[in-house]
Subunit: 195 residues, 2 copies
DNA sequence: CTAAAAAAATGAACTAGATTAAGAAATAAG
DNA sequence: CTTATTTCTTAATCTAGTTCATTTTTTTAG
């Protein structure tokens, strides 16, 4: 059967759930398989779901007028991903969310989540805590972008998310860190030869 | 007496409040006057409160090892400000929050807010919606930092927050936009002479 | 009103990182 | 396997933005 243990454990890191809560939550989950290079969100189409990654890897990114893309977020197992701005305001997306590997996801629809939150304060609380944590995280990223050099940003990310560094293409990582793939290549060489 | 109308109106943009809700909320508000250049948050001291600006202007900023400061956020009337990471995790702050003008603020303590949220789902919901909006905003800022040139970032900010541009010192704005004050000066001259 | 301090402007020299282009290596998918 | 495609590397050139040093302007607080 479907494995909802991981996503429930994720929630239980923030709020305790009894069997009834669990049933309520799992009843709104939709499971989906996604092939590598497939999009689960695309610009101009409203992002209707939050996506929990059960297996696989994703990235969300923005493509600007010049065709250059900027990675907003990566997500591997046990992470949520979406075009959050599109999702919470239910307006057309500006991002792509693309599978970097064949993947299995568990999705929850905006309307279902809002209903759930209205009916069960535990979930309202869960989504508050997650949003607050996400905001604090995003602020740290702003700080890192403002204050650090390209090399320092790479080293910091590598220290914090070694599994992501190994798993995603270098051009995607470069675009997350705000530099060109060529420059990231140069940094890696510099770091490798130095030690 | 104290004027709580503005802060209550702010909340009511997200959730409806009856008189009892209003009383519950205002009972935990602490009012404070702050002089220009005074800090309401400092590194290494835990940020115990969220601050609502009734009158005045603030900025939060980080000072790195080289003594260079990076502005994270501005706040004028009707905005909230804090070291959010310190506040929600109740860990020592890494930011300064400084008054740019003499100010009057209304503060709510972390513990009081958590109690309020547990007892009244309307406030849980309010803080969820605010956190989600803040997160979406922070993501847009990351995007803007990654994708745009210094001049584009300035023009964008100026279009979105003209009142802040006029009100805060240029060095603070430069440090928010991720450039040196000298370069911002150059951009402004370029834009002024071009038109 | 005025002296002192803070903020902004200017310009010359410099550099981190981008751009371009081409070849090498890795990976995917028949 | 094997070939087509995608990804990564390398190196030369270029530029947006920084640094540093000085001057001018604005603000502040007695």
């Amino acid at each position: 059967m479907d494995n909802f243990d991981d996503i429930l454990d994720n929630i239980k890191r923030y709020v305790p759930l009894n069997k009834k809560d669990e049933a309520e939550f799992t009843s709104i989950i939709q499971v989906k398989k996604v092939k590598r290079k497939e999009f689960i969100v695309e610009p101009d189409r409203t992002c209707t779901h939050q996506t929990y990654v059960l297996k696989g890897a994703f990235r969300s990114y923005f493509v600007n007028e010049d065709g250059i893309d900027h990675t907003i977020q990566f997500a591997i197992e046990d992470w949520f991903i979406s075009d959050f701005n599109s999702y919470i305001n239910q307006v057309p997306a500006s991002l792509y969310v693309e599978a970097l590997e064949d993947a299995v996801v568990q999705q929850i629809a905006f309307g279902d989540v809002e209903d759930l939150c209205q009916n069960n304060p535990k979930f309202e609380r869960f989504f508050r805590l997650v949003a607050q944590k996400s905001f604090a995280f995003a602020q740290r990223r702003v700080l890192s972008n403002l204050g650090k050099s390209a090399q320092e940003r790479y080293i910091e990310f590598q220290g914090q998310y070694p599994s992501i560094v190994q798993r995603v293409p270098q051009y995607a990582l470069a675009s997350y860190l705000g530099m060109t793939p060529e420059f990231l290549s140069k940094i890696r060489k510099r770091l490798a030869t130095k030690s």
